[in-house]
């Protein structure tokens, strides 16, 4: 198949060999699990259990609320021992609402209900089951998958793209999953296609994963016999190939319009890990309670991939990989290009956590930033066609709005520019800061406008009250005048009558 050309991009050192070889291991049950109520983009889930309550594996713990949300299920059987704040997997380590479960070691499933034939369900029913299983995008963004399915059905999606790019260095969780569980992934892909009505199904996998490619091609050929052609395509290994916009471009030549969604051009993109979760939910009735996590980095003793229950502490998975063999200069959740720094390993892993990295100082290669020499390495590296150096210059000058003209709103924060900058300028940091700043200004502007509207309405209301009062006063006055006039007329009439009577009498 013909591939389309991408702009920019970088070729960071892959370092996937660290963790790519050993098969996926299942992490032994930890003593306690810390399950945050918000593991997705959107509103946090509302908990339905109480402290002390016994729960079974897969039991609904918290229901999604609002249009964009996802429910949370018990990762194993045990007892709820606390409901409250626990440090979240975020650079700040700020506490977030979390259910703490003491595991009972029995790992007993709740009653699971799986349809006899998931392909016999209507697309809406498939989406409803995906929503009920708490499935979110496992590529990292953790957007509720069912919301995307419903959106695609409404906007006539014709092409389903499965993202097996995994372009982040170090991460091999999708690679291992595709190697070991390709038939399930392919069935999940066909279910997603069934739920959206997409007729063309493309799976993009970077050509640095030949085993995963082979396994997926074999599985899709078998599936093709059963109907439903899934095309597996090798795409060049390059960062950020696994970004949604870039994967669409390389496979279809189409570009998502600025400010729009993939669905606007009839495309839906899902991660291969999400397809596996969908298959598990529809074939076995299992909600999303575990995921594959890559544990890697130069400071990890025995890097590899683990199947980890949601809510497991990062410290537990690092321990399961032999612990640290060197001082970790930086702990990262996710990949090194877009992942976030962890200040501690005592935080739970969630649905969107694809990797835990412990990097050595040499791997991070941190350096203090110097002045921009306008070398335009960042311009060449940007996959979006932006001018990072111009954007940064404006932000530094205190003009974040000015940087929008040079592409701030189109920035996907992939980090390619920061990665290549010879002056080690943290460009993406500047951009994210400016985006936050602009959003805050926007909110302030909206607030001011709302205040102004309220004030205007109030003064108008006051004016109306005054007007009405005056009107009433005038009416009252007029009525009084009329009454007076009438009284006067009656008095005059009476006087006249009296006079006439007097005249009559005197006459």
């Amino acid at each position: 198949m013909k591939l389309f050309k991408l702009r920019g991009g970088v070729h960071p050192e892959g370092r996937k060999d660290l963790s790519a070889e050993p098969p996926i291991r299942v992490l032994p049950l930890p003593q306690r699990l810390y399950v945050p109520l918000q593991q997705h983009i959107g509103a946090p889930a509302r908990h339905l259990v109480t402290v002390g309550e016994k729960v079974k594996k897969g039991q609904l713990l918290a229901a999604g609320q609002g249009a964009v949300s996802a429910p949370v299920h018990a990762p194993t059987s045990g007892r709820v021992v606390a409901i409250g704040d626990f440090p979240g997997p975020h650079p700040s380590g700020l506490p977030m609402p979390t259910l703490t479960i003491e595991t009972d070691g029995e790992d007993v499933w709740d009653d699971l209900q799986a349809p006899a034939d998931p392909f016999a369900l209507t697309p809406a029913e498939v989406a409803a089951r995906v929503a009920a299983a708490g499935i979110v995008g496992l590529g990292g963004a953790a957007f509720p998958a069912a919301v995307k399915l419903n959106l695609s059905r409404n906007s006539e999606v014709h092409t389903l793209i499965m993202n097996g790019g995994e372009c982040e260095p170090y991460l091999t969780c999708d690679d291992r999953l595709m190697q070991e569980r390709a038939p399930q992934i392919v069935e999940g892909i066909r279910l997603i296609a069934h739920a959206t009505g997409a007729r063309e199904i493309l799976v993009g996998i970077e050509d640095n994963k030949p085993e995963a490619l082979a396994a997926m091609i074999t599985a899709s050929t078998t599936a093709a016999a059963a109907g439903g052609a899934v095309k597996v395509i090798a795409v060049p290994a390059m960062y950020p190939m696994g970004s949604e916009k870039q994967m669409i471009q390389v496979l279809t030549g189409l570009e998502v319009p600025a400010g729009g969604r993939a669905a606007d051009i009839g495309v839906l993109v899902h991660n291969v890990g999400t397809a596996y979760a969908v298959q598990q939910a529809l074939r076995l009735g299992r909600p999303l309670i575990s995921r594959i996590v890559t544990v890697s980095g130069g400071a990890i003793t025995a890097p590899g991939n683990l199947e980890v229950l949601v809510g497991t502490l990062a410290a537990d998975v690092v321990r399961a990989c032999g612990g640290l063999r060197a001082e970790a200069a930086r702990l990262v959740l996710g990949g090194p290009m877009m992942g976030t720094q962890l200040s501690s390993l005592e935080v739970p892993l969630v649905k969107g956590s694809g990797g835990v990295l412990a990097l050595t100082g040499k791997e991070v290669e941190a350096s203090s930033p110097g002045p921009c020499i306008r070398c335009s390495s960042c311009v060449r590296a940007c996959p979006m066609g932006l001018l990072p150096l111009e954007m940064a210059a404006r932000i530094r000058a205190g003009d974040p709005a000015g940087s929008v003209d040079w592409g701030l709103k189109d920035c996907i924060a992939c980090g390619s520019c920061s990665y290549v900058c010879p002056s080690h300028i943290p460009l993406v940091h500047w951009f994210n800061h400016a985006k936050g700043d602009l959003a805050a200004r926007e909110r302030l502007k909206m607030k001011n406008e709302a205040t102004k509207k309220l004030a205007d309405e109030r003064s108008e209301r006051m004016a109306r009250i005054v007007r009405e009062r005056e009107e009433a006063a005038r009416l009252r006055a007029a009525r009084k005048a009329a009454a007076d006039a009438a009284k006067k007329a009656t008095a005059e009439a009476a006087a006249a009558a009296a006079k006439q009577k007097l005249e009559e009498v005197t006459a």
Partner: protein
């Protein structure tokens, strides 16, 4: 508590000083050749320029209260002085190099705000300043006198030439080809008469001729430039566009009036074109940052160079052309931007061209 680091948590093995060192390495073949060709006085000049650059940069940084270490160790000041030296007459007096280096660092770079802030290429700004202020010293050329030959001045003789102003013996001063041709054409001679005996393309390509310290060997400069492209310090866009900018009008004019306008090889091999195209115009600070902008910039540099060489008051035009285009860089950057993904060339969001799903 350690501050929170933002992604990415990895970095390409690159830094400003690494870039500067790579450029210096790429300049080394042509520089060593210049040292060999013009002997000890050339080496003296190089040492003076680099020392003055270091000292004046340190002084400027100190006055402005900026960190000395980072400012000196990035290597950009040394590179500027190095490039300036390569464009000077090889037996020039020491003060010419000193004044040039001082001007390049203080006026050309630090006054604008230091590394990355200068509008003009500092080395070329200094060269043009020297050319206007000291026209005599800046056009006192020497015939090649390889250091290995008996006629070359020895180490102590060279000190006299550079530092004491001991005039070189008669008969070793010479004119550059561009200068000679300009003068002779002005006297109404035909081109074939002018070039006879003084122009041998093969010797010229190698650099066996009178000229600036490091500009004579087109071949070695080209090799240095290709190293820069291979190491991804520069891209091919500006050099190729600049060479094309000289080549196209030269070819055309030569085709129309061969007796009056020298041809392609003459322009490609003479003056500071190779140094200018690969090492000067590609200065990241003062050149545009988009590919289309760089092509426009390079081509305009080339055309201007040819125009100044052909009709201008000076025989060589590279420095003037580059400075003029440096001034145009902000304008070029404004009008030549890459197209943003999901937008058209004007920056308007693409309208989804929905394929028929029926």
């Amino acid at each position: 508590m350690t501050p929170i680091a933002h992604s990415p948590h990895a970095h390409a093995p690159t830094s400003v000083s690494r870039i500067m060192v790579t450029v210096m390495l790429a300049l080394t073949p042509a520089t060593l050749f210049g040292f060999w060709l013009y002997g000890w006085p050339a080496i003296n000049l190089w040492v003076v320029a680099l020392s003055v650059a270091l000292v004046s940069e340190a002084a400027a940084l100190k006055i402005m209260g900026r960190p000395l270490r980072a400012g000196l160790l990035d290597g950009s000041g040394l590179l500027t002085a190095w490039l300036l030296t390569l464009s000077l007459p090889p037996w020039a007096p020491w003060w010419l190099a000193a004044v040039g280096a001082l001007f390049a660092i203080v006026i050309g770079k630090q006054i604008f705000g230091g590394l990355g802030q200068n509008l003009f290429n500092p080395a070329m700004a200094a060269r043009v300043m020297l050319l206007i202020s000291f026209p005599l010293e800046m056009t006192a050329w020497t015939v090649p006198m390889p250091i290995t030959s008996g006629a070359a001045p020895g180490f102590f003789e060279a000190l006299g030439i550079t530092f004491a102003g001991v005039a070189p013996a008669d008969g070793i001063s010479s004119a550059t080809l561009l200068g000679q041709v300009k003068t002779d054409l002005g006297r109404g001679l035909g081109l074939d008469q002018v070039l006879a005996g003084i122009y041998d393309p093969a010797a010229f390509a190698l650099g066996q001729r009178a000229g600036s310290l490091g500009e004579t060997s087109a071949v070695l400069l080209l090799i240095g430039g290709l190293i820069l492209i291979a190491r991804r310090v520069i891209t091919w866009h500006i050099p190729l566009a600049m060479l094309a900018g000289v080549a196209l009008p030269a070819l055309l004019a030569h085709l129309i009036a061969p007796g009056h306008y020298p041809g392609l090889a003459y322009h490609m091999l003479s003056g500071g074109l190779m140094l200018g195209a690969f090492f000067i115009a590609t200065d990241p600070v003062s050149s545009p940052n988009s590919v289309s902008g760089q092509l426009v910039f390079g081509f305009a540099c080339g055309v201007l160079t040819w125009i100044i060489r052909t009709w201008g008051g000076y025989p060589e035009g590279v420095a003037f052309a580059v400075l003029l285009l440096n001034a145009a860089t902000p304008v070029i950057d404004r009008y030549f931007k890459p197209r943003i993904y999901g937008r058209d060339r004007k920056g308007v969001a693409l309208i989804p061209a929905k394929e028929s799903t029926k």
